[in-house]
Amino acid sequence: MEISEKIISLLSQHKDIPTEKISESSTMADLGMDSLDYVELIMQAEDEFGITLKADSSMTTVGDFIEMVKGAAK
């Protein structure tokens, strides 16, 4: 599964939102996420891709987060 698909899948499971309602332009507010939800997403991405991310980074859109994960996974 592509990184972007996996992240959307993680978000879908974590917030119980169908994947078709999540896009790369979705924001944290769109998904009803607070900063602790974001940290949990970071931890799941770290486990999934074997990377380390800063917990106090910020995500404006899902697309931004995907790019951050891709950068760390290189």
Binding site: D34, S35, L36, Y38, V39, E40, I42, M43, K54, A55, D56
Partner: protein
């Protein structure tokens, strides 16, 4: 190496609920509860930490059916007692009229488990038999009540346990990780011919990084318990986690796929009481007669340092 023969706790009278904080900082009850699960916390407004710690200590001694004279050692874990010197442990010793060595340790929120580890080693040395461990905190002294991100999180309290020779400690692990900049409170300096005055700092915490450290530490320790003891989460009857934040505990619980009833909590009523949180919680469950002989308790804490400590102890009372 050891077993727990008594538990105790003491809580200050003044209750600061979320409505109190709505009046002093820009926050709401909804925000506090959804982010942390905390509804009230108890704050010391009179007296000293010595009195609170001594009350928890006497409570634990009564539960253990011991007198102060039966103690061989008192260990207090605390960020700061009433004095720089003498130690809080010495002050408690004097208050309860014990006659034994006494010292403090500071391992922040992991202080109770650090104390258990120290006590286990000293009991194994066969020099000491009955050791009183008290974790007592007056966090309200170092909290900035104008900082809405931290002031709602912390409360004051004291928890205690009497430990003695036994074979109930199945696993214990303490450690540290780099992260002084993530959670700290700077001490003050006086004005004198050598130093310029420096005000005591307030508690600073990088919330997201500490959340991540806490959650990953607890889950990693559960894996280690499984690896070393072949004890799985299903085999553990009670998860007594440091009561820092309800979201940390819920994240751990869901990850382990364990039922709510295995995760008693007191953060909703007392907030984060640092090292006192686990012994206070243990005493509450004990006094409610919920522990059964043979139950496995998994304790795990994490705090400034960064410090961490976990143990598996079999309930023997």
């Amino acid at each position: 190496m050891l077993k727990i023969i008594g538990t105790g706790r003491a809580i200050p009278d003044f209750i600061a609920d979320n409505a109190f904080f709505e009046k002093i900082v820009d926050t709401t009850d909804d925000w506090i509860v959804s982010r942390t699960g905390i509804k009230t916390r108890h704050i010391m407004t009179e007296g000293g930490l010595t009195e609170l710690a001594a009350a928890a200590a006497q409570n634990a001694l009564d539960n253990a059916n011991l007198e102060p004279a039966d103690l061989d050692l008192i260990i207090c874990s605390t960020l700061q007692g009433d004095y720089i010197t003498p130690s809080l442990a010495c002050c408690v010793k004097s208050k309860i009229k014990a006659d034994c060595p006494a010292f403090d340790i500071n391992a922040a929120c992991a202080g109770f488990i650090y104390s258990l580890n120290v006590a286990a080693g000293l009991i194994k040395s066969q020099i000491y038999n009955n050791i009183l461990i008290i974790s007592a905190e007056r966090l309200s002294k170092i909290v900035d009540y104008t900082d809405r991100s931290t002031c709602v999180l912390f409360g004051d309290g004291a928890g205690a346990a009497v430990v003695s020779k036994g074979d109930c400690l199945r696993y214990i692990n303490i450690g540290t990780k780099e992260g002084i900049e993530l959670l700290n409170a700077l001490s003050g300096l006086p004005e004198n011919c050598f130093t310029k005055k420096r005000e005591q700092g307030f508690l600073y915490m990088n919330g997201p990084e500490i959340f991540k450290f806490a959650t990953q530490t607890v889950l990693s320790e559960i894996n280690e318990v499984n690896r070393r003891l072949n004890v799985k989460p299903d085999d553990i009857q009670w998860f007594l986690l440091h009561q820092a934040n309800g979201r940390i505990i819920e994240t751990v619980r869901k990850s382990l796929k364990q039922p709510q009833e295995k995760f008693p909590e007191n953060y909703s009523r007392f907030g984060n009481t640092s090292a006192a949180s686990i012994p206070m919680l243990m005493d509450e469950v004990n006094r409610d007669n919920k522990f059964k002989k043979g139950d496995l308790l998994f304790l795990s804490a994490f705090g400034g340092g960064l410090t961490m400590g976990s143990c598996v102890i079999e309930w023997d009372k």
